[in-house]
Amino acid sequence: MALIRVEHVDKSFASRHGTISIMQDISFEVKDSDFVAIVGPSGCGKSTLLRLIQGLDRPTAGSIYFQDQKVESVCNQMAMVFQSFALYPWLTVAQNVAFGLEALGWATDRIAPQVERYISVTGLDGFQEAYPRELSGGMRQRVGLARALAVEPAVLLMDEPFSALDPLTAESLREEVLQLWRDPQLPPDAVLLVSHNIEEAIQLADRVIVLSRRPGHILAQVTVDLPRPRDRKSAAFYDLTDRVYSLITQGGGTVPPSAAAEGPAAPG
């Protein structure tokens, strides 16, 4: 069954110069145990889409369903990992990880073991009492990840989580996220990743949703059926990367007929 259903979503903003349309007629589904990546040129509304899905913001038209319930306020079955980490500088690592649990109203004695568990899952043991500014970028994003996982979300939403990290750190964190997703004992069931890095998307996801330039619409949904672990240097990987890349560069306003690989491609 579909975990998330996005149906004909439009989003526009009023601005100084009139209404600006961010995205038009976005429709797709995320199934249980899916790892879906959304890629597209900057400004195509990728991050906005993620916020619409969690209910942080409302679409101008269309609807979003989570487990067949319309998303109308912030959905606590999903948790977000932010590009900028969004850690609270005045809270320790442990307090930051406990943040979402406190919001859910967990009792203090239940929070502590849960926090411990996810601190060790994300490899933060020994840093419980540190403050975010004392950590490196990679460690900070681990805190962001632990905070999101601690509430045991069905869906993990990741908004360019590796963009602010150096390449080596990003690479190892990617592997860890994959392992978490595959581990049946651990959340999340599905991951929705927003990225502007095509290789990253293909390396991680089962399916890559390609958005066009603003106003963003779906150019194609590309299924990635390469075996894991994926080899970035393999010919198949390179072909897929190339295909997505040309979709984005050529498919500015219209949809090339051949590009609609599978799934419903939105009309231009």
């Binding site: 069954m1 975990l3 989003k11 526009s12 903003f13 009023a14 601005s15 100084r16 209404t19 600006i20 249980d32 145990s33 900057s42 400004g43 990728k46 991050s47 906005t48 916020r51 969690q54 209910g55 942080l56 913001d57 409302r58 101008t60 487990q67 319930q69 319309k70 998303v71 109308e72 306020s73 912030v74 959905c75 606590n76 079955q77 948790a79 977000m80 932010f82 900028s84 969004a86 609270y88 500088p89 005045w90 809270l91 943040f99 979402g100 406190e102 919001a103 859910l104 500014r133 509430v151 979300p153 069905a154 869906v155 997703w181 581990d183 049946p184 959340p187 999340p188 069931d189 599905a190």
Partner: protein, 605 residues
């Protein structure tokens, strides 16, 4: 992978969502749904309010049985003349401040040797309550010929002192913070002289100068009214302040309302014709960049942020001032704590503060001793009654501090919720902020005579005094808190929403810690304003017999001035020194350590 999540019950938030749809607090979402046309350059509520203020005053006045519109109209011409006098004084003081700010700020920023002396001097002058010097300045300047020149000069100098510091810092800091790449680019093109000024230095200063000017004028009106009321004690200086206190003391509602109306009109005209256009002009000279990217267009066009911007500039000034200020006293105290001895950090801090406190108290006693000694040498012994009052000085300082703390607590109780509501609700901000700005730009001192004549019977002298103190404190606190809440990084707010943090938890975990640094700087500036207001809030003689007098250091300064003919000088000067020493002590012992801690723990990076 096992679909564990699908069997999980859906959270209460989601299941309730189909029926309850809480209003989104996201500004972009609201503006998108409302899809309103872009608001005009000056916002409507402000315009409305400018019209509403005189109307409301009129309605209030109409409750007075003897009040007639004809009588009111009859007073309008003289009121206009009086406000013109005040306006001329303000303009003179402003031009003086502008010249002073540009030359002092420019010299300090460009000459290293000058900087090392000029900036600490300015820091001290800024942190000392200017109004304490009122009586001294008036006494010195009052009798300068020709007739009428002296009182006017005194008044202009006093307004100048209230206007200039923040402008000097504006010029100095904007010159010091010109981005180095811009400076270097100018160097590579060998830009010099007039062209360098036009292309680099002027654009660098103009933004802050405009915003600080807005604040200076607002503060200037506050002090102008005070100055005129103060200098009119017996000797009239025509102007809006003396008009209002004269009208209030004669219970002449018509004249009072006429004065208020003309004052509000002048302030509104200045706002519309000068500050708003200038503010828009100055916007383009800002160096700090807004974050670009997808979020860029999500930010709704701000309706009016002048005060917030101005407050944040002043806040920045206070911050650098606090972290820069290293008075000779502090250096002296630091000598007692040499790091050579192996003591714990906590103990070292204790020793440091104890020695600093001791030194300050000693300095304070020494100053009083010097005053007494000098006075005894030049004019014989101190009058017994004055000596008795001088012995009251320590007690008076205590009372004043308690009064300030109480007023501060009330201000905080009002300003914090107000700031949170206005900063977080876009609807509330659009309507509420312009109203608050208009109210804040009205000099509350103009209403002091009314407070004394109408409110004292209900809230006692003590209550009236605290109320007047609050008017001198609350806006510093409010605008600092507002800009503090607005500067909490949007991703932190979004994360809180994403994890569903609400209500008290949101306040405790995110808003209060996020605003803590701004609270400290706001408190420092608010107390600065409070010390200044003490001079009129503890003792105010408004014409015929009606006066307010509560024991405090401000009162003693005023009493010393009032009794200057009868040997009151030592009281005035002694109380003034006590006031200054208290301010410096409290700054050093309470605010600076607090501020450092706030920056350590609660800054964003």
């Amino acid at each position: 992978m096992v679909g564990e999540g699908t069997s999980r019950p859906i959270g209460p938030e989601l299941s309730g969502a189909s029926t309850v749809s809480p209003p989104s607090t996201d500004p972009a979402a609201v503006s998108a749904r409302a899809a309103k046309p872009v608001p005009p350059r000056w916002s409507r509520p402000a315009t409305f309010l400018y019209l509403a203020v005189p109307a409301a005053v009129g309605v209030l006045a109409a409750s007075d049985p003897g009040f007639t519109a004809a009588g009111l109209a009859g007073y309008l011409p003289t009121a206009t003349v009086d406000v013109s006098y005040s306006f001329l004084r303000m303009s003179a003081a402003y031009l003086l401040s502008l010249t002073f700010a540009l030359s002092y700020g420019y010299y300090a920023a460009t000459h290293h040797s000058g900087e090392r002396v000029m900036i600490p001097v300015l820091d001290i002058l800024q942190s000392v309550p200017i109004l304490g010097f009122f009586p001294v300045v008036v006494l010195i300047l009052y009798n300068i010929p020709p007739t009428g020149f002296g009182p006017n000069l005194a008044s202009v100098v006093l307004i100048f002192t209230s206007m200039s510091w923040n402008m000097v810092f504006g010029v100095y800091e904007s010159l010091k913070t010109v981005p180095s790449d811009l400076r270097e680019a100018a160097d590579t093109f060998r830009l010099s002289g007039w062209l360098r000024f036009r292309r680099l230095l002027f654009p660098a200063t103009v933004n802050r100068l405009v915003y600080n000017s807005v604040l200076s004028w607002t503060g200037g009106w506050f002090f102008l009214v005070e100055a005129e009321i103060f200098t009119t004690n017996g000797k009239a200086l025509p102007g809006i302040g003396s008009l209002l206190s004269f009208a209030a003391s004669n219970h002449n509602t018509e004249q009072f309302v006429a004065g208020l109306i003309v004052l509000v009109i002048v302030i509104a005209l200045l706002d519309f014709l000068l500050w708003r256009p200038l503010g828009h002009y100055a916007e383009r000279f800002r160096f700090d960049q807004t974050p670009s990217g997808e979020g860029e267009i999500l930010m709704p066009a701000g309706t009016s942020g002048r005060f917030r911007r101005a407050a944040s500039y002043v806040t920045r000034g206070v911050r650098t001032g606090v972290s820069r200020l290293s008075t000779p006293l502090v250096q002296l105290a630091a000598i007692t704590v040499r790091p050579s001895r192996r003591t714990s950090a906590r103990r070292q801090a204790l020793i440091y503060h104890l020695s600093l406190g001791t030194i300050l108290v000693l300095v304070w006693l020494m100053l009083i001793a010097i005053v007494v000694a000098v006075y005894t040498v030049f004019s014989g012994t101190i009058v017994p009654s004055v000596r008795a009052q001088m012995l009251m000085i320590p007690l008076a300082v205590g009372f004043s501090v308690i009064r300030l703390v109480v007023a501060f607590a009330f201000c905080l109780a009002i300003a914090l919720p107000l700031a949170i509501v206005l900063a977080r609700g876009p609807q509330a901000r659009r309507v509420g902020l312009p109203i608050v700005e208009v109210v804040a730009s009205f000099p509350a001192t103009a209403l002091f005579p009314v407070i004394i004549f109408e409110l004292v019977p209900y809230i006692s002298e003590e209550g009236a005094s605290i109320l007047m103190l609050m008017t001198g404190m609350i806006w510093y606190l409010f605008f600092n808190l507002l800009s503090g809440i607005r500067s909490i990084p949007p991703d932190l707010e979004e994360a809180a929403r994403s994890f569903g943090l609400k209500g008290r938890k949101l306040l405790r975990r995110v808003l209060l810690p996020g605003v803590f640094t701004a609270l400290i700087t706001g408190s420092i500036t608010a107390f600065g304003g409070g010390w200044n207001t003490l001079i009129v809030a503890e003792y105010l003689n408004v014409g015929s017999g009606s006066s307010l007098s509560v024991l405090g250091v401000g009162q003693l300064i005023d009493l010393g001035y009032a009794e200057s003919a009868a040997g009151g000088y030592p009281l005035m000067v002694g109380a003034l020194f006590a006031l200054i020493a208290s301010v410096i002590t409290i700054n050093e012992l309470i605010w600076k350590p607090l501020y450092r801690r706030a920056v350590d723990r609660y800054r964003y990076d």
